[in-house]
Amino acid sequence: MIDAIARLNQNGAMSTSSPRPAQTSVLIVEDEPELLHRFSEAVLADEGLTLTAAVSNGASAIAVLGATAPDVVLLDLGLPDVHGIEVIRKVALHHPDCDVLVVTMFGDDEHVFAALEAGATGYLLKDAGHDRIAASIHELRAGGAPITPSIARRVLARLRTTSPARGEPVGQSAAAPVLTPREIELLKLTAKGLSFDNVGELLGISSHTVVAHVKKIYRKLAVHSRGEAVYEATQLGLL
């Protein structure tokens, strides 16, 4: 999957002729020194990336985010002080244009999904190589997002079982389904294990468009989840 995105990025970079924005600023939040060093090296080694800051705890990250607005936050969820989800919420609230890339172990889809719900749009495996790290960041900025069959299943379960009467987010028209039929089809095919290439072929779109759809789906997921949280809080009399 990672390789697929890498390949896609290469392809995408070749196919899209839009000029790359000058620099992509990156904030790295990682408490493991070895990984912090590795990520920092990868960012510094890439011409298109600049390192805004590399911090090892949530409080520092929130402080940096208060002072500046990076383009991408490379975030480890398991921080010693605050939960990574809190940092994601802060970013989503103050810097809606900023992409959050969650650093994760494999098989940790539950946490990845929680991060996506909070507003993250990508994730990166801890064992990813140097070029994979930089490529993932560029991919995210170019409008694509990674996905696995397991996450596709979770997204489908989350956005399809929500009943309109109860769970319709505040501010959205009550009858509108959250996902379009095409998005549902895309998620279903992915859930079965098909690669982006295969999904794109079946849907008659490019694999670049496939990953762009995925990012859009993540945005909907976050909005929907936030709306639902607000809705539930209203129901409980908290807001």
Binding site: D3, A4, G107, D127, S150, K192, G193, S195, N198, E201
Partner: protein, 643 residues
């Protein structure tokens, strides 16, 4: 309990009220004259005898005994009563009894002629007689009443009552009351006894082990027959003997059966005593049959008298059983028996020792009321109550038994269900722990041994950084595979296989191997235990690793299919076909064969049609309760063109 008692008291009160409503008040006019003196003359002349004959004075009522070995003869009774003036309403003469019939005259006119025994009919009138006196026959001063009383055939005594003279209205009441007690009451007894007897004997027929029902039915039958002989007052002479026989047999039988019933109820049944009693019962009727009508009086005097000690013995036995049982209901039978026996003694005295009775209760003795009718009715009612109580008790006992049985069955069922649940739970836990063991062994044998080998090689300096990284990546890959197979919400081989292929497509693409895969399964899911899924994926991983590293292949095709409970995984590449040639390939082959064996399946490795290698794993889909869980839908592998 108190509530029921109250209901009983109220019911008894209502019954007494009804009884009181039906009885006529005794007229208190005092105009009725009871004649207690008479002149007697033995004469069978049908006409009024001359006043000059040899009349003897006597007091009334009287029992006139004939000389020994002779029957009494027809006797005229001549009585006087005084009137202050001629009455203004109809008067009447009432004779409480006139067993043999006869004539009644007032002055010189006959008032009535009660039929007497003749050559064709035998009479024995139990009823009282009421004769209306026209007012013209009565006059101030002394009036004369003449009655000719005929004896009853076969009886040694002629009984004559104290006649009553008075206003018809008053005497009618007295007559009706006596008529009810001596005639209507026996009629009712006959009907009730025979009805109850049929009912009880039917019960006994269906429940032969309940002997007391049989005795009770027999007792009521006998008593009904005995009473019938009193209700039938005039019978043809040729049948009279049979009526007497029926009377004797039923009277003796009733008393003997009562004795047996009481003995059984008391729990005493000595076979010889019972046989003796039955023999005594049989003796009377046989004696009568042998000796004929003439013996009637003797049998009555001797054999019937012998029944009295039997009755008294019965009372004693029943009182003893009360002492033993000490319950209130057990007191019923002896009380009733005592009452019946006393009434029997009374009747015997009335017939055979009237003078003894007259000494103590003169007014009552001459009325000749026979109390055994009522005493026996009371006794039968008491027996009926006892048997009903016994019946109710047995029904209740049966119901309680049923209820306790049902509750015990329900308890056993609950226990069984509980056991079954526990067993199922144990089995589930057992299966879960078995599964855990298999998975732990997987991790130990796979990841564990890889890590230890790498550690050993690193420590002796036989591994450079690149080899080390490759080894660790292999470990991580192994772990990823395990996580794919053991994902807690998926027991489905298709889902795990999809995850696996999603990852491997990217990896194969990285080494420029084109990968096509397909799934051919009827249904959306393929249930398989996690450890089995892990083994299948390991075989697939081993095969793909070999393709990526050693086969020098440009493309690989995977297909997963299921037919008739057999799962088949086929991996075909277009490489050099030296699968087992390399050292790692050889080890990989051994691993794959071992895994297939653990799954009770088979693994084959063949040369491809043109070039390359075909690895095929086949295994049975055992533990699959619902292989095809949902409606069959298109699976991606069948229709999707694979890039």
């Amino acid at each position: 309990m108190i509530w029921r008692l109250l209901c009983g008291v109220v019911a008894a009160g209502v019954a007494a009220m009804l009884l009181w409503l039906t009885t006529d008040p005794v007229p208190a006019s005092g105009a009725v004259v009871k004649i207690e003196r008479a002149l007697v003359l033995e004469s069978s002349a049908r006409a009024l005898p001359l006043s000059g004959a040899d009349w003897q004075p006597t007091s009334l009522p009287t029992s006139r005994r004939a000389a020994s070995n002779e029957s009494p003869r027809a006797t005229w009774f001549r009585m006087q009563f005084d009137l202050a003036g001629p009455p203004d309403s109809s008067w009447a003469v009432m004779l409480p009894y006139l067993y043999g019939g006869g004539q009644v005259w007032l002055g010189r006119e006959m008032l009535g002629d009660v039929p007497v025994s003749s050559a064709s009919v035998h009479v024995r009138w139990e009823r009282p007689h009421l004769l209306v006196v026209p007012p013209r026959l009565l006059h101030s001063g002394a009036n004369e009443l003449w009655v000719q009383a005929m004896p009853v055939d076969g009886q040694a005594v002629l009984n004559f009552p104290a006649p009553r003279v008075g206003p018809l209205a008053d005497l009618q009441v007295q007559h009706d009351r006596r008529y009810f007690w001596v005639h209507t009451m026996p009629e009712l007894t006959v009907g009730a006894c025979l009805g109850v007897a049929v009912f009880v004997l039917l019960i006994w027929w269906r429940l032969p082990e309940e002997v007391v029902y049989g005795w009770f039915g027999l007792a009521t039958t006998l008593w009904g027959i005995r009473t019938l002989t009193f209700v039938m007052e005039a019978v043809p002479l040729d049948r009279w003997q049979w009526w007497r026989l029926a009377y004797l047999a039923s009277t003796g039988g009733f008393i003997v059966v009562m004795a047996l019933f009481a003995g059984r109820l008391a729990g005493l049944h000595s076979r010889w005593v019972e046989r003796g009693l039955l023999a005594y019962w049989v003796v009377g009727p046989i004696w009568f049959l042998l000796m004929g009508l003439d013996s009637d009086a003797q049998i009555n005097r001797l054999w019937t008298a012998g029944l009295i000690p039997i009755g008294i013995g019965t009372v004693l036995v029943s009182f003893i059983s009360v002492r033993r049982q000490r319950t209130l209901t057990s007191l019923w039978l002896p009380m009733a028996l005592a009452v019946a026996t006393l009434s029997g003694v009374h009747d015997y005295m009335v017939v055979w020792k009237p003078e003894q009775l007259e000494r103590y209760i003169p007014a009552w003795a001459g009325e000749r009321y026979f109390l055994l009718h009522y005493g026996a009715d009371f006794l039968l009612a008491a027996m009926g109550v006892l048997l009903s109580a016994r019946f109710v008790r047995s029904v209740q006992a049966l119901r309680e038994l049923n209820e306790s049985l049902e509750s015990r069955i329900a308890g056993s069922e609950r226990e069984l269900a509980g056991n079954f649940k526990r067993l199922a739970e144990l089995e589930r836990q057992n299966a879960a722990s078995e599964e855990r063991k298999l998975i732990m062994r997987e991790i130990h044998d796979g990841l564990g041994s890889k890590l230890f080998t790498s550690l050993s090689r690193v420590e002796r300096g036989a591994m450079d950084a690149a080899q080390m990284a490759a080894s660790l990546r292999a470990c991580i890959s192994d772990m990823r595979l395990a996580l794919e197979a053991l994902s807690p919400d998926v027991d489905d081989l298709l889902t795990a296989f999809g995850d696996f292929m999603f990852r491997w497509q990217a990896e194969l693409q990285a080494v420029s191997v084109r990968c096509d895969w397909s799934i051919d399964v009827a249904g959306d899911t393929l249930r398989m235990a996690p450890h089995a899924t892990l083994q299948v994926l390991r075989v697939a991983q081993e095969g793909l690793t070999n393709v990526a590293k050693h086969a020098n292949a440009s493309r690989v095709e995977l297909s997963l299919s299921e037919r008739d409970g057999q799962v088949r995984l086929r991996i075909a590449d277009d490489g050099v076909g030296n699968f087992a040639g390399t050292s790692s390939g050889g080890r990989g082959l051994r691993n794959m064969l071992e895994r297939a064996r653990q799954l009770a399946g088979t693994l084959t490795i063949e040369q491809g049609d043109v070039r390359g290698t075909v690895v095929t794993l086949s295994l049975p889909l055992d533990a699959a309760p619902d292989t095809h869980a949902t409606d069959p839908r298109q699976t991606p592998g069948r229709d999707a063109p694979q890039a």
